[in-house]
Amino acid sequence: MSEPVKKRGFWSEMIYNNPVFGLYLGICSTLAITTTLNNAIGMGVAVIVVLTISNIVISLIAPLTPDEIHIPVYIVVIATLVTVVGMLMQAYTPELYSTLGTFIDLIVVNCIILGRAEAYACSHNVAESAKDGLMMGLSYTFSLLAMSLIRQLLGTGVIELSNPMNNQVIFSLRLIPEAFEIPVFTTQTGAFLTFAVLSALVAAYKLNDEKKEKAAAKAKADAAKLAAANAAKAKVKEAA
């Protein structure tokens, strides 16, 4: 992935370089676990931790790694981190661990993590890699939150958040009466549909932005042309 040429704001950056809806990386877990907000936050935090630490470690060991075996080396680093995070979650948040199930283990093969290691961490210094890991992890988490908010709200009508350590409900708010729930949003079909709509929105945002940029560039060019024509006219007048 190329570096963005112009500086964008935080949110615009999140939308533009969004790993999920923009680049279609790490879709499996996004579709599978976003049935509730709790799952999304748990998964997001796990990915942020793994991604940040793996970026740091890989940026440190990249100069020492022979080129031919760099992928296996990176994968072992990532797998080790995921094992550690998985064990911690099993110990402290057993309920969350059992709902997320294999998807915690499958963080190993989440394309975002290996992708960032390959595209960024191996050629940048520690601080930059850590920042990149954090940013990517955050935008992944935002994508999960967006998906799960829509799916939980439309599917069950309730927004609910509970403490993963002891399963006490922190807050629970029913926004849609029971009769108007759309249970299909909690199923696979709902996941695909929500994803389709959100990724189309991101694409529409990008298209709109590009159009604006093009219009701005065109206006600039027109202004330059006009100025040149005026100058030429003035010259002609002067000569006359």
């Binding site: 279609y24 879709i27 992928i71 296996p72 394309c111 079909t189 695909f192 389709a196």
Partner: protein, 190 residues
């Protein structure tokens, strides 16, 4: 468990893509052309079958006797990476045209979650060797089935008039949603 039931449920009911959302990256990536979808499907069947049978053997004959069950994630992923590397070298030597058409997706099979998922699933479900064989064929066969159907739909879709923002992947997800509805009808089969 009845082996036929196991096969059908892994192939259709618990289809790896449409009901478990596993292996989405190659599903979206190589499904634009039927020929590459078929090639990818065959490669995935071969890799998943080989890798998960080897992982099963590694787990029960090596990790369990040594009491290293918690190392399974690291061992499996290394085994898969090595196995994929081997398959890649084999295809490169024996079928350069297939190698060309699959391009970057072959090394990506390593990070295809389906491979690791099947290896882990065989262990967590406690399947014996025969069940492992059946499961490791049925899951990737289901993957290929959906991939090929999806690729044919997408080939038609490429020529249709889609709104600008929905072009490419977004509309493909809508197709996937409709396919998921269709496949949910298999739930009553077993």
């Amino acid at each position: 468990m009845n082996l036929l039931t196991l096969f059908l449920s892994a192939l259709l009911i618990n289809n790896v893509i449409l009901s478990k959302f596993i292996g989405m990256c190659p599903f979206m990536g190589v499904s634009t052309k039927l020929s590459s979808a078929v090639g990818m499907g065959v490669a995935v069947i071969f890799v998943i079958f080989g890798a998960s049978v080897l992982s099963w053997a590694l787990y029960y004959y090596c990790l369990v006797p040594l009491g290293l069950e918690y190392m399974k994630l690291i061992c499996f992923i290394l085994l898969i990476a090595a196995f994929v590397q081997f398959v890649e070298m084999f295809i490169k030597k024996n079928s350069p045209s297939l190698y060309k058409s699959l391009g970057i997706y072959l090394p990506l099979i390593t990070t295809n979650c389906a491979v690791l998922y099947v290896a882990l699933d065989n262990i967590s479900q406690g399947y014996n060797f025969i069940e492992t064989l059946v499961n490791s064929i049925a899951v990737p066969a289901g993957f290929m089935l959906v991939l090929v159907i999806f690729a044919t739909i997408r080939e038609r879709l490429a020529g249709s008039d889609t709104p600008e923002a929905w072009k490419g992947n977004p509309i493909a997800f809508v197709v996937a949603a409709i396919m998921a509805i269709a496949f949910s009808a298999f739930a009553g089969l077993v």
